[in-house]
Amino acid sequence: MILATIAFYFFAAICVASAVLVVTLRNPVHSVLFLILAFFNAAGLFVLLGAEFIAMTLVVVYVGAVAVLFLFVVMMLNIDKVGMKEGFQKYLPIGGIVCAILLAELILAGFGIRAAAGEAAGAASGAVVPPASTLTNTEQLGMVLYTDYFILFQSAGMILLVAMIGAITLTLRHHPRVKRQNVGDQVARDSKSTVRLVKVKSGEGVKP
């Protein structure tokens, strides 16, 4: 039990510290690398909660895909390091207000879950962890997601699809002069339509 507590504070401390570094560091590439560290420690926290499926998905989706794209973009763009920090003072109050609201909401939600769990368990335990059962948490998650929240799940998928189509239509340009490879055409070519044998008379050459 003590080990779990130590692990929790370890992960949580690194998570918060690297999150602070993400917004304060000057080099954007370093920021992204610390963002990855923060994701990792969040995954560690999920493992401590016994939600190993969510932990792994967090690593696969956020660290393995989203952060790679971040890193890609940040490395490719030559971001002006000084200009990025210019508005820092100006945006600080607004950012602070947003942070405060989010924190308040989190605390409220935490108390709400605690109260609900307390009622359910007869006020015996305030744990957020669902009661142990024979099902793995992947199966439990699937049961809830595909039955109770089916419509919400599907609409989340649709929203992502719309976002993807939007991104493609915004960036797709047809250049008339760019030659593209058409694999179907290439495969469909045969010797009859492309090669012809000509008897060439000497001194006359081949006429088209």
């Binding site: 990855i36 792994m56 393995g64 890193l71 490395m75 992947t138 490879q181």
Partner: protein, 339 residues
């Protein structure tokens, strides 16, 4: 009493720690040896397919060649290019190497013979292999060199693209097995190895594995004719060796994954051959897959980059998606869905 309780607690803690370290060593040491001799096997297989002899000077049949190579790399000087980000430059090969090792924690060698019998084993491996790209991209950026950076960008795009189809292949397998635990997946293949019903998926997994480990014909990130050495152009000595070792370790990992997911892991192909212990079967299957890797390298020319992307996104992704739905439909329709 409290004192003695704490004493016994500490003792048991140390006992588990020593037990764990011993088990980890038992996995890592043979793995390092296997990896060293995979380089030897690669050179021999390439030589054989090109009518050469390969390494045959150091030791009998050249068997000590990997050790000589390792010693040579150890003795060399590590050069950090000027303008490179020193910390990231040195940590990138370590990240590659450590990630290649960490994934082995969940590979089952026999019934119950696994370091960590994780419930989400398959996802764990998927997560770890998706992190492999960081070693490469960080190396390319920290080197402060055009060649390295271009190689790293290529590699990142390639790995992200092929991960998608690998993910769908994994989903198909776990749909058939009804579990994400690798031991359970092997057990589910007692009736029939998944290579038979899922043969197209096996082929796609193998090809995607080639792309994921940057092996030829998909070795564009290190295409020497255009990018010198790709992302490890600037690396030398041990930092170079760690990249190299990481690459071979990843190859062995993909071979192990193929054996576990499609070739029945530690199961023997015939009932009458069951006296041979499971790990030997697993190693034999891995050796077969690794030979395929080397064979492909010796025969297939390198892909063009746009063709590589086309294959990943326009061929493999739709096909795996279709096959996944097909498999799900068959399982539901025939009532074969594992409970």
């Amino acid at each position: 009493m409290v004192n003695s309780l704490m004493q016994s607690g500490f003792n048991s803690f140390f006992a588990t720690a020593i037990d764990l370290v011993a088990k980890i060593m038992l996995i890592i040491v043979p793995l390092l040896v296997a990896m060293a001799y995979l380089t030897y096997a690669e050179r021999k297989v390439l030589a054989a397919s090109q009518h050469r002899r390969g390494p045959n000077v150091v030791g009998p049949f050249g068997l000590l060649q990997p050790l000589a190579d390792g010693l040579k790399l150890l003795m060399k000087e590590t050069i950090v290019p000027s303008g490179a980000n020193r910390f990231l430059f040195l940590i990138a090969p370590m990240v590659t190497f450590i990630l290649a090792l960490v994934a082995w924690a969940v590979i089952p060698f026999d019934q119950g013979m696994v370091l960590s019998n994780l419930n989400v084993g398959i996802l764990y491996i998927f997560a770890i292999s998706s992190l492999g790209v960081y070693g490469i991209i960080v190396a390319g950026w920290a080197s402060n060199s055009r060649y390295s950076f271009l190689g790293a960008l290529r590699s990142a795009a390639q790995m992200v693209s092929y991960e998608v189809s690998i993910g769908l292949v994994l989903i198909t397998v776990l749909l058939c097995a009804g579990s994400m635990n690798l031991s359970a997946i092997v057990e589910a293949q007692r009736k029939i190895w998944y290579i038979v019903p899922l043969f197209p998926m096996f082929v796609i997994f193998f090809i995607s594995g080639l792309a994921e480990t940057n092996r030829s014909p998909f070795d564009l990130p290190e295409g020497e004719s255009e990018l010198v050495g790709g992302y490890f152009t600037e690396y030398s000595a041990m930092s170079f060796a760690l990249f190299y070792l990481g690459e071979y370790m990843n190859m062995i990992l993909v071979a192990a994954m193929t054996a576990v997911l499609f070739l029945g892991g530690w199961l023997s192909p015939l009932e009458s051959l069951e006296f041979i212990p499971g790990p030997i079967w697993l190693f034999a299957k891995m050796a077969l897959v690794l030979f395929l890797f080397l064979w492909v390298r010796a025969t297939v020319p390198r892909y063009r980059y746009d063709q590589l992307m086309r294959l990943g996104w326009k061929v493999f992704l739709p096909f795996t998606l279709f096959y996944l739905v097909l498999v799900a439909g068959v399982l539901v329709g025939m009532g074969w869905l594992p409970v």
